[in-house]
Amino acid sequence: MTTVVEPGLRRRRNRLRWRNTVSGWTFILPNFVGFALLTLVPIVALIYISFTNWNAFGAADWMGLKNYTRLFKDRSYRVALWNTVYYTVFHLPLTLAVSLGLALLLNRKIKAVAFFRTAAFFPYITSVVAIAIVWNLLFSPEYGPINQVLSFIGVDNPPRWTVSSDWSMPAIIIVATWREMGYYMILFLAGLQAIPRELYEAARVDGASSWGRFRNVTVPCLRPTTFFVTVMLSIESFKVFDLILVMTDGGPGQSTFVLSQMIFNKAFVENQYGYASAVSVSLFVICLAITVFQFLVNRRIER
């Protein structure tokens, strides 16, 4: 690098750089135009709109922080936030545990492994609409199969599931876990199979029990995957919506009313785009905060 670059070479290098820039952008442009217009611009616009009282007719006045102060006083917002947290607190660990369990079960030489994998993955590729229809009927309080099974095994007052405000959220959590565990199972399987076999063999030579092998080989080696799954699951949980929209529509009462439902209702039912955007910003900030927080924790553990 210490040699003096002759002008001809430099010019050639500049030309190459220029050519690379042009061809790089040519490749990226078709996607970038759509991506910028439909994702980047809306994200920036969101912040502006959240400070206005934009409505369906497009009349927008600058409101300053009014939407946000209104948000803090809004009882519905607190309910939505609380329900979203409630959903996340149960759905996240449950899905994590079940999908890891499934992955561990399926990560071995057994017959029909393909069948079991398909069975676990199938709910994930089924549309929420079909899922909601089936589970709503399965959950019907009087004649639904689930409550019939429950009373058959001796439960006296089986829960009224989606028509009761206490049990609607647990019902949603069950269905959501059932639907998503196959997806995370695949991520865990990929992580498990990246663990070098030699580590297990070494542990066995050292006389480690299967629990010891799990604790001292599987868990530490799987940490990057677990981290990724946790980040994904938190974001997925906080933005939970379409399942709720089709299964309970936020009800009964406000028992399954979550943040995304509030954005949807304010924007597309009540046409209050400005206020809906303020709710959106809060969702955005929460997801960002979770991701950053998890990255920080992860870095600290790694050190």
Binding site: I28, P30, V41, I43, K109, R117, Y143, R197, T291
Partner: protein, 297 residues
């Protein structure tokens, strides 16, 4: 690297030659299969019930005690649904959308991924970071400004809005880039020396090599578009534009049909069948696509 989910590479549990462990191994094997069978029953029972109910009479869907298998198979449900609902229109719209969106996503995604992974230019990494960062932003957070923008240009209530919404996702770029990184740089270098243009390298070398990745992306995109409910719910008003998900949901919510449980189930089965077929045919690619997108965060 793209991980293969092949069972051969899996560490087997408890393989040792001691005779004492033979019995134990047998017991653990039985427990394992027992657990798996119970788990998959729990996973698949809703589908079984859906399929069987779609062949019942409306009044027989809920019976005490539960009857899993209908007495008489009401095959005509599968004819009635086409008359009672706009099944044909819904399927046609959904098919058009899924195909167009998939083509656009695969084309623009793989093209951009090539630019990101093979061509060095200033600002490239920052730009890619922007792409990745938006994957963590939930769509629900920016669906409102997006809707305002698309309605300003008059695209709401058209199928175009659905195409615009779904065809340019960052996910496709990310997935394809992950794959391209596994292709040795020397291949493109050699081609460059031989005088092939960047586009030539993309077309002649990368594209043929990335068929499995493209299959993954295409299948995932197709299924996602097919199953999307929220987008159509927000954007599409005309009944002629309804997709299968929106149509089915509207049909169920209509008081006129709400008690036609069997017919509702028939419609649900029909909405799932195409996806089931695609999934069975390309399962390997689904699994690899998801596993790849999960690697390296």
């Amino acid at each position: 690297m793209s991980p293969r989910l092949a069972p051969e590479r899996v560490p087997t549990a408890g393989v040792s030659a001691r005779p004492r462990s033979a019995v134990r191994r047998r017991i653990s094997k039985v427990t394992l299969y027992g657990t798996l069978i119970v788990a998959s029953a729990f996973l698949l029972l809703p589908f079984f019930w859906l399929l069987m109910s779609s062949l019942k009479k409306d009044n027989d869907v809920f019976t005490v005690p539960i009857r899993w298998i209908p007495e008489i198979f009401e095959w005509h449900n599968y004819v009635d649904i086409w008359v009672n609902a706009d099944m044909g229109i819904w399927l046609k719209n959904t098919m058009i959308l899924s195909i167009v969106v998939t083509l656009l996503q695969v084309f623009t995604g793989s093209f951009a991924a090539y630019g990101f992974s093979r061509i060095r230019f200033p600002g490239r990494n920052a730009l890619f970071l922007g792409y990745v960062a938006t994957i963590a932003v939930p769509w629900q957070a920016y669906m409102v400004p997006q809707f305002i923008m698309l309605s300003k240009v008059g695209l709401t209530n058209t199928l175009w809005s659905m195409i615009a919404l779904q065809a340019f996702g960052a996910f496709g770029v990310f997935l394809m880039k992950q794959f391209y990184e596994t292709v040795p740089e020397e291949l493109s270098e050699a081609a460059r020396v031989d005088g092939l243009s960047e586009f030539g390298i993309y077309r002649r070398i990368m594209l043929p090599l990335s068929v499995p990745a493209i299959a993954s992306l295409a299948l995932l995109t197709f299924v996602k578009t097919w199953n999307d409910y929220l987008g159509p719910r927000i954007y599409l008003r005309d009944r002629d534009l309804f997709t299968i998900q929106l149509g089915l949901k509207t049909f169920t919510a209509d008081p006129q049909h709400a008690s036609q449980f069997a017919l509702v189930m028939t419609g649900s089965v029909l909405s799932v069948v195409p996806i089931a077929i695609i999934f069975m045919a390309g399962q390997r690619y689904f699994v690899e696509g998801i596993a790849t997108s999960g690697m390296k965060g």
